[in-house]
Every structure is written in C-alpha cells, then in structure tokens.
C-alpha cells in the first residue's frame, strides 16, 4: 500500500500498461508536460513513439483514435476537460460507439479516453460539465468514474486492457485527493459497485465527485440515528444494477446523487431502472439530488448553490426516511 493522489494513480496505471503492452500509445493536447498531471513523467519515460502532444483539434483526436485502434494499437486519448468532448463529439457519437456494429463485429476499438469533469473550481460553464448522459446514451461506450486513487488505477488499467472504447472520467478536484493504492498488479473490474458505507435506512448512490459529500451526509445522519448505505457505482456503463437493487431491498429507500444536470442524468437512469425492476422494494419515492438544468456559473457561491453538496443530500435522505412506510 502506498498513499497516492488520484491523478498519480491514473498515471501509474497508464505507465504499467504501457510497460506491459508496447501497443499502448498516448496522445492529446499538452500531454508531454501533462497540464492535467495524470500523465506526468510519461513522456520522459517513453518518448515520442509512445506519447505525443497534438495540435488543438479535438475532432481529429477522437477520429484518429478510431483509425489507430483499427490499426492494432490501444489508444489512450487525453481530452483535458470533458467539455472538449463536445468538440470531438463527431467520432465519439458516429464512429467509436457504432463502428463495431456497423462492420458486423469486424473491428475492435480499444480506446481509452481520459477527461476531467465537473465543477467546483470556478472554471465556469465551458470547463465544468458532467457529460455522462451523452456518453451513456450512445450504447457502445464504457464509462468509468473512479472516486478513489485505488479505483482510478484499477479502472484505468482495466480500460486499457479492454477491447472496447472506455471513457475514464476524472472527478475535477478529486485528482488531488490522496488514498491508499494496493501494491503490485491492481485491476478493478467494470460493472461492480463498491459499498462505501453500510446502512439500512436508505441507499444513497453517489457518482464521482458526489461520493465525498454523500459520505459526509451519511456521517452526519448517523448522529441523528439514520443509517445510510452509500454505494459508489464506479462504472456507469456497465452499471451494477444488482448491487443497487440488493441495497434497496435492504433499505427500501433510494437517493441518487449526481453532479450532472437533472434532465436525462445518470441519476434519472438509475431511478428509472429501480422504478422498473425494484419498484416493489421501495417504501417511498426515489429522490435525485442533481445539478439543476443550468450551465455552471462562475461565481463560487452560485456554483456551490447549483452543485449538490452535503446539505442537499442530508435533506433528501431525511425527506425520504421521514415518509410514512405506507403508501397513499
């Protein structure tokens, strides 16, 4: 075990996979000096044959990944902020997520796209989006949202070994948080949620950057005698429905916390799945705690107002458990 920051854990995962497999190639804007930090030192170690700076041209970055992957490489594309996925959206929406089906399964696209997402740093609307819905709705993309350094390393390694396109989204701000990472080979499978805290009065599914306030909310609710189970899905595609349903079976109550905008959010998806497959387990309404349908404002007070925090999560859980067990 070593204490490592999340972005360093990603770097470590990438480096290990580059060492394991000479076909792993990395590119992106400013990856050599690694402005984000998640590839720091990779260029010194592997040189321009394995990692290189590109011009600013996201359309081509995502499109080129498809061709390079079809040519037998595992491509790691660093896209910096998730908002730049819009700029590179053509190949994501029309190629990466579809080409395997369109070719009748002839092609494999082992592509790992890394990008940071979310607000909280006064980066304003064009550098703060949480773009799950767009990716999850495409059908052919895995989406991982690590919340701890250990998971970050394990998920990025799983992504790079995958034969399919995977998005590894780094929660903005959490990149700087440290945690223990197991020594030696450490892989985290896709589609397996982690129970971050056990409880029996309500299930809180907390995605990405929302894990921290959710755990804080759970801790504070504990002092009120409300025992909250906190689940971290770790990957949104594939999604561990069984884990959520099992927890709701125990608690009867579901709160989904998602930094994405409310409309068509991952929270909406989780709620819909449970309203369909776990309806009889529910003792009351499913609550979503999300960002309202707004662009993220610059002013820190306004930003804090729209992005879910501990207080709103506490309120939602309280509202949920205070309802009568009997439905009207």
């Amino acid at each position: 075990m070593a204490r490592t920051r999340l972005i360093q854990a990603i770097r470590d995962g990438v480096v290990e996979e580059m060492e394991r497999d000479a076909k792993v190639v990395v590119y992106g804007e400013d990856v050599e000096l690694s402005i984000v930090g998640d590839l720091r030192g990779v260029h010194e170690r592997f040189g321009p044959g394995r990692i290189r700076n590109t011009p600013i041209c996201e359309t081509t970055l995502t499109g080129m990944a498809v061709g390079l992957a079809a040519a037998g490489y595992h491509v790691v594309v660093q896209m910096m902020f998730s908002n730049f996925l819009y700029t590179g959206m053509d190949a994501i929406g029309n190629q990466m997520s579809k080409l395997r089906l369109m070719t009748g399964g002839q092609v494999e696209l082992p592509i790992t796209v890394i990008a940071t997402f979310g607000g909280g740093a006064a980066n304003a609307a064009q550098h703060s989006d949480t773009p799950y819905a767009m990716l999850m709705n495409l059908g052919g993309l895995n989406v991982a949202v690590p919340t701890t350094p250990a998971d970050a390393k394990g998920l990025v390694k799983t992504a790079i070994r995958s034969r399919n396109p995977c998005f590894v989204l780094e929660p903005n701000g959490r990149g700087g948080e440290a945690g223990e990472v197991p020594d030696g080979e450490h892989l985290v499978p896709f589609g397996k949620a982690a129970v971050r805290r056990e409880g029996d009065a309500a299930t809180v599914v907390a995605i990405g950057r929302m894990l921290k306030p959710a755990l804080a909310a759970a801790a504070s609710l504990e002092t009120e005698g409300v025992s909250v189970e906190v689940l971290d899905p770790r990957t949104l595609v594939p999604f561990d429905e069984a884990a959520v349903l099992a927890s709701v079976e125990k608690t009867g109550r579901l709160i989904v916390v998602d930094e994405a905008r409310e409309c068509c959010s991952a929270a909406s998806q989780v709620a819909a799945v449970v309203a369909e497959k776990g309806f009889s387990l529910l003792k009351g309404p499913i609550r979503r705690v999300t960002t309202p349908n707004v662009a993220i404002p610059y002013a820190p007070n306004a930003e804090a107002h729209v992005i879910p925090g501990k207080a709103r999560i506490v309120d939602a859980v309280r509202g949920s458990v205070s309802r009568s067990e009997v439905l009207v």
């Binding site: 190639v25 044959g49 290189r52 590109t54 011009p55 041209c57 359309t59 081509t60 995502t62 499109g63 080129m64 990944a65 498809v66 061709g67 390079l68 992957a69 079809a70 040519a71 037998g72 490489y73 491509v75 053509d90 190949a91 029309n94 190629q95 080409l99 395997r100 089906l101 369109m102 070719t103 009748g104 399964g105 002839q106 092609v107 494999e108 059908g139 052919g140 895995n142 070994r161 995958s162 034969r163 399919n164």
Partner: protein
C-alpha cells in the same frame, strides 16, 4: 472554375505507366465496379434493396488507379459512395452484395449496408456515412503504420464536399507534422448532393494541402493511367517515409446523388442534362478501353473476355446475395461490445 487538368494529353500513352498485365487488372477493376453498380442501380429501382445506394458510376478510374498500388496490409477509408473503393481494394464482391441485400452472409452480417461496407482483413476500414469522417480515421491508421515502421500506407478517399469539413485541415496539419504515410485522394465530382461545388468550395482544393507544404497534384480522374501514375508516386513517397501527399482527381457523378434522387427532387433540377451527356462521353472505362486497343496492349477478344468474366462474377454475387439468409435480428445486442478476455 478551372480544373487545372491537361485535357489535351495524348490518349494512348501508357509509356512509363502500367505494364500490360497491370493495365488489364485496372480495366477489370473498373469494369467490375461498373457492372456491380449497374446491377445495384437496377435492383434499387426495382425495390429489392432495403436501403439507399450512392453510386460511383463514372468515377471508377480513381478507386481502380489508386488501389492498384495497395496491398491488403495497407489501409483505406471510404465514403458513403464506397462500393468502388471496397471492390478495388480487394473486397469480396459476393459479400458486399450480400451486405447490401441485408443478408447474414454480408461482409458486415447485414448490420452495415451499402454505406458501411468494410473488410478489415483487407485494410478496408469502411465506407462511412459521415462526410469527412474518413479523414481522421485514415490519419490514425497512418499513424499506426508509421509506428509499425514497415512501409504500410493509408489512403483516404473523400469528396469535394467533404473537403469543406474542417477535419481536412486538421488532418493535413497532423499528417504534415508527423510525416504520416497517408495519401489524401479528393474525388472532385463537382457536387455535394445537389449543390454545385462552386457554390460551396472557395479556391482550389489542392491549395489547402499546399498551405501545409504537402505535395499536391490535380489530375484528370477519368484517366486511369493518370490516376495510376499520380497515386503511385504519392504512395511510394509515403512508403518511403516521405510523408503525406494530396491528389485531387477531377471526375463526375453520372448517377444522382443517390438512387432515390428523382423521387426526392420531385422535379427540382440542379444540373444540365447536357453536362451529364458530355461527361458520359468522357467515360473512364470507354476511354481506357480505347487506349488499350489503340496502344495494342490488349485486343477486343482479351477485353471482351474480361467483361464476360466480370459479368459472371456479378451474376454469381447477386445469386449469392439473393440466396442468403436474412440477417440475425438479435445480432446487434450481441455485437456492440467485443467480448473481454477473461
């Protein structure tokens, strides 16, 4: 608009061009594409094909002349008008036909159709329904080829309309910077759908490549030997590590944008029938046939033999497609993700 082509070059010169056997293969390649597409045209009109088809009739010299220099290991990206590239690059005509017929036996198991025919084993990275998408895909494949370092190349076919997508400039830049073995082949057929090129394409397309100091040439795309020569030069340069090249081949689309055009247009007109006629007279296959005969590279019997053999292949391909099984309706759900290693 001036095309920059030398239309007065003597018709018969094969000197320095393809050898006689290469020339016959070029002829065969063009005729195969033509006969396949004539059949698709008729079957589409007869309502036998489920989806739209975009035909390449009149433009065959480009695919044939370029792909003559390619091996299976080389890559090619194609367009919505992709049958010609698929066939010229060595794709299986039966499997392509079965694909367009939406058969399980199709090259993409019926999942892709006309606009997505691909044969990865032959480096055919696929026809593509997104105009301009092939540019970045080919550039990525060329990057792979460069990293492999074994002389492979990637060719990107795209239209004059596609040349207005910013992806062109982006990929010219990247391929120039990284010295990638990619050949950009612009098939300038004068139209994007119903819009004349002059309305939507400023300047000379090849100049866009020249702005990056990429060697660029403008050629008569209906002269297969000229295509063969220009492509050969560009592809050799790429194989030898000389980086990207750009070939703008002037040609003309004889059919409509797609076979539903007359219905969709419902009387609207965007080109002069005389213009179509004049390009018919500039048919690349007829021109090449005449040249083969006049230069005594082949006689009528030999060429008729090629025609007959091609006709038989096409008949067989259609029979294969007709006799095929419907696609597996549940395949999509199985195919989206490649199975992960345990």
């Amino acid at each position: 608009m001036t095309t920059g082509l030398d239309e007065t070059a003597p018709g018969g010169r094969l000197g320095g061009g393809p050898t006689p056997s290469e020339a016959l293969r070029l002829y065969e390649s063009m005729v195969l594409i033509r006969r396949v597409e004539e059949r698709l045209r008729d079957d589409s009109a007869a309502g036998k094909l489920p989806g739209a088809v975009h035909l390449y009739i009149g433009e065959e010299a480009i695919a044939a002349g370029v792909c003559a220099h390619l091996e299976d290991r080389d890559y090619a990206t194609s367009t919505h008008r992709g049958h010609g590239h698929f066939l010229a690059k060595g794709g299986d005509v039966r499997k392509m036909m079965a694909e367009i017929w939406a058969r399980r036996e199709g090259i993409c198991q019926g999942m892709g159709g006309s606009m997505h025919v691909a044969d990865l084993a032959r480096g055919i990275l696929g026809a593509n329904g997104i105009v301009g998408a092939g540019l970045a895909i080919a550039t990525g494949a060329a990057f792979g080829a460069k990293l492999d370092g074994d002389g492979k190349v990637a060719v990107c076919f795209f239209g004059d309309g596609a040349s207005n997508q910013g992806a062109l400039m982006e990929t010219l830049n990247v391929s120039a910077l990284w010295g990638l073995p990619v050949v950009f082949v612009c098939e300038h057929n004068g139209f994007s759908e119903f819009t004349p090129a002059a309305d939507v394409t400023a300047g000379r397309i090849a100049d866009r490549a020249r702005a990056f100091s990429i060697p660029a040439t403008e050629i008569d795309g209906n002269d297969v030997t000229e295509v063969w020569r220009a492509a050969g030069e560009a592809i050799s340069r790429a194989r030898a590590g000389g980086g990207p090249s750009f070939v703008e081949a002037r040609t003309y689309r004889i059919q409509g944008h797609f076979e539903a055009e007359p219905v969709v247009l419902s009387g609207g007109r965007y080109r002069d029938p005389d213009e179509i006629e004049s390009w018919r007279r500039n048919d690349p296959i007829a021109r090449f046939r005449a040249r083969l005969l006049s230069s005594s590279v082949a006689d009528e019997t030999a060429l008729d033999g090629v025609e007959a053999a091609v006709a038989e292949r096409v008949r067989e391909a259609v029979a294969y497609a007709e006799a095929g099984q419907p696609a597996d309706p549940e395949l999509a759900e199985k195919l989206m993700f490649a199975p992960e290693e345990a």
